[in-house]
């Protein structure tokens, strides 16, 4: 939502001003108007600000900028810009087949707070490892990549459906018996490709 962050900051400033008024002039709370003011300052506005802030953070955490804000993810960001038409992330990103503002989230939809409870706990573990643990040299998925993330866009697409090989494997692809990445295997080969100038 546009201006959500500005609106949140405005609400926070108003709430803090009202809280200061209530704390510095507690006599106000003896009147009916003062009670309403106190309720606004200490319950309604903070609740509204927190709900809006949570929504803003959730939306922001889907952005490419957010994912790549951790140092460890930088090479994966670079893999979006490698000069190789066969590299899946680069081909999708550079040809605008995905929303470039949400490039990571488009293909990794089951991650961190947008997945199940297990995925959320994993997200917290990532933050712990990032600050206090030993970072792995190579980041790998916890489980095989789900074809659902590919078929979510490609299923029904003419170029996909008219391919004889895809027709043969359709059921296996849908059931994840065969991974899309078995053939389309140039993905995030971090450090092996040159970035596009």
């Amino acid at each position: 939502m546009p201006y959500l962050e500005e609106a949140l900051v405005a609400i926070v400033l108003v709430a803090i001003a009202l809280i200061a008024l209530v704390v510095l002039r507690p006599g106000l709370t003896a009147t009916r108007g003062g009670k309403v003011l106190t309720f606004l300052a200490l319950a309604v506005l903070p609740g509204l600000a927190t709900a809006m802030g949570l929504s803003a953070h959730m939306e922001r955490s889907k952005t490419t900028e957010f994912c790549l804000s951790c140092h460890i993810m930088e090479p994966y960001g670079k893999s979006l810009r490698v000069d190789d038409a066969s590299a899946l992330p680069a081909a999708h990103f550079q040809n605008r087949r995905i929303d470039t503002e949400h490039a990571c989230f488009t293909c990794h939809t089951n991650y961190t707070m947008f997945g199940d409870v297990k995925a959320k706990m994993t997200g917290l573990k990532h933050v712990y490892i990032n600050y206090l643990g030993e970072k792995p040299k190579k980041i790998e998925l916890y489980e095989p990549y789900n074809n659902r993330e590919c078929l979510h866009c490609h299923a029904g697409a003419r170029s996909f459906e008219e391919s004889d090989l895809h027709k043969e494997m359709r059921a296996d692809l849908a059931s994840n018996t065969t991974s899309c990445l078995e053939c389309h295997d140039v993905v995030h080969q971090v450090g092996e490709k040159e970035e596009q100038p």
């Binding site: 200061a20 704390v23 709370t29 903070p46």
Partner: protein, 68 residues
């Protein structure tokens, strides 16, 4: 129309509530301006937690005032 001034204990709790909520809102405002996973965690586990605690203290002050 004038009403009785609030009891000192109620005032103390309102001040505590105001301080907690104010601090929590300040943390929320700062973290909303920063795009990083740490900002999200700080928002949730510091900002929202302080605001939640402050609101609870406020509600507790209301409940204890009405019961006394």
């Amino acid at each position: 129309m004038t009403e009785n001034p609030p009891a000192p204990r109620l005032l103390k709790r309102l001040r505590l509530s105001g301080t907690l909520v104010g601090l929590g809102l300040a943390v929320e405002a700062v973290t909303i301006l920063w795009s990083h996973p740490t900002a999200f965690l700080a928002f949730l586990f510091v900002g929202a937690a302080l605001v939640g605690a402050g609101v609870l203290v406020y509600l507790w002050s209301l409940a204890s005032a009405s019961s006394s």
